[in-house]
Amino acid sequence: MNDLDLQVKLGPLTLKNPVMTASGTFGYGEEYNKFYPISELGAVVVKGIAPWPSHGNPTPRTAEVVSGMINAIGLQGPGIEKFLHGEHYMPFLRKTGATVVVNIWGRTPDDYALVAERLEAEKDGVAALEINVSCPNVKEGGLSFGTNVESMQRVIRAVRAKTSLPLITKLSPNVSRIADFARGAQDAGSDMISLINTIPAMAIDIYTRRPKLANVTGGLSGPAVKPVAVKLVYEAARAVSIPVIGMGGIMSGEDAVEFLLAGASAVAVGTATFADPAAPLRVLNGIRAFMERTGVRSVKELIGQIQI
């Protein structure tokens, strides 16, 4: 069934299919390219890049919970210069032919702008930037920008001023009204939004009475968060005219279709990849199988087609 139309248009960005990877769950692509050509995916979203190299948080950084996990990796990363020129990063990704989205973060709007400026200057192979204003695991930056509309907009505007690359703003679920943030991102010049980032969470070892994460708290991901994510994607998609990328606990093609119906134009697979390296491809094949089974010829016939 090669006549299925899987292509999706995300504003200025066209993807050959709607399945992306979620930042932080796919490294910088190299590990999974050993299992299958990562260029088969709609897009590869790499782990967050800051102006500087960063250690990330102390260990333990993860704890498994029912139907998911809590992480506080804390954005360990090589920094923008090594990302642009180190052999395992952008130079490698260019060779794969994958559609690459670079997730960026910093402690101040200027930090984000600096990373955007460097990527703009060497943008060969970079399809879009994803602005991370929603990481719950770093002390400065991250979530502190993502829970206040004006702060978020300052970051988006600072980035927008430095690059013409398509911009995705990744939203936090940890806000009272997601529509305000979705609209705020749109108004500040973001070309699309992605959600959800992880949900702030914690777990305690009842025998040692200590938190299971060295960072004490972390972010919940995996199938446990999916219903929350579907609801927030639904609300965000109704609030804006820009495309929405949906994610949160997607394990199967059916899960992905649920996000598309809720209003997402594309989806990202995250935690599922830790359980199965081939999860993003399996999700893509699952979408194909669902379309064949139900007589849907184009992914576009699913986007936002929830019947209320």
Binding site: G24, T25, F26, G27, E30, E31, Y32, K34, F35, K47, H55, G56, T59, P60, R61, T62, A63, E64, V66, S67, G68, M69, N71, I73, Q76, G222, P223, M251, T271, A272, T273, F274, A275, D276, P277, A278
Partner: protein
């Protein structure tokens, strides 16, 4: 690399410890001592992550891979129940293993069920050497017979003194090092033991390799969960975090930053 593997045997060795044999020809063919497999646990319904296990033996001719594990949590409790014939996804062989040093006598040092990891090295070792084992009690000193059958001389320590010396396995180090002409140390066990060992061996010119890890998620280097600290002169803090699943789990002892 990710192979649906049939469980051929799943036997209790002694209370709480089990030996599990997979039919996984591709993994068996290339597995090296110190590497691990990442296993999707059959029957584990509401937990999605895999569990890593050191490879204790691999038989390329038979296509089998053996892991030895202690029943410690949900994953291993479920794995203990898996019947022969059951299939599960096994990813491997993963990580970097021990690198045998030519012209030396292997001194294996195992804390707790760390002996499950060093057993594969003993099996593939050209010359037998010493195995230093430490555990809480005699019951937890597993695989003693297996090492001795491979010609390795056993020195043991238990925390309660029920077998061997009362104390820690590191208490046996000097005696062991003094008893062989050109020792090379290969160790696997709890992090405090490995850090103590790393500090004891510092600057002595004895080749040493430590197998250490942290809570693991992806097993292939993508998630940055299982990092351990390595010394790094270029970092202002003197260390960097290294993904133990990919760069490790076995590291040259002199590279390990032996403090929490």
């Amino acid at each position: 690399m990710d192979q649906i593997s049939r469980i051929l045997r799943n036997d209790e060795m002694t209370a709480g410890y089990r030996r599990l044999v997979f039919l996984a020809p591709d993994i068996a063919k290339s597995a090296l001592p110190g590497q691990f497999v990442h296993v999707q646990i059959p029957g584990l319904r509401d937990r999605i992550l895999r569990r890593p296990f050191s490879i204790s033996s691999a038989d390329p001719a038979a296509g089998t891979v053996t892991v030895i594990f202690k029943v410690v949590g949900l994953g291993t409790t479920e794995l203990a129940k898996a019947e022969p014939g059951v299939e599960c996804a096994v990813l491997g062989p993963l990580g970097n293993g021990y690198k045998p040093v030519p012209g030396t006598v292997p001194v294996l040092i195992a804390g707790g069920y760390g002996s499950a990891s060093t057993l594969f090295l003993a099996e593939r070792s050209k010359t037998p050497g010493l195995i230093l084992m430490g555990a809480r009690t005699e019951h937890d000193l597993i695989l003693r017979d297996e090492y001795q059958a491979l010609g390795f001389r056993l020195l043991a320590a238990t925390n309660d003194g029920s077998f061997g010396r009362k104390g820690f396995v590191t208490d046996l180090l000097e005696e062991a090092l003094g008893s062989v002409p050109a020792p090379a140390v290969y160790a696997c066990g709890p992090r405090p033991m490995l850090f103590a060992l790393g500090r004891l061996l510092e600057g002595r010119g004895i080749p040493a390799q430590l197998s250490l890890d942290q809570h693991m998620c992806c097993g292939v280097g993508a998630c940055f969960a299982c990092v351990v600290k390595l010394k790094d002169a270029d970092s202002p803090d003197g260390f960097r975090y290294s993904r133990s699943c990919k760069e490790g789990p076995v590291y040259p002892a002199e590279e390990v930053y032996c403090r929490e």
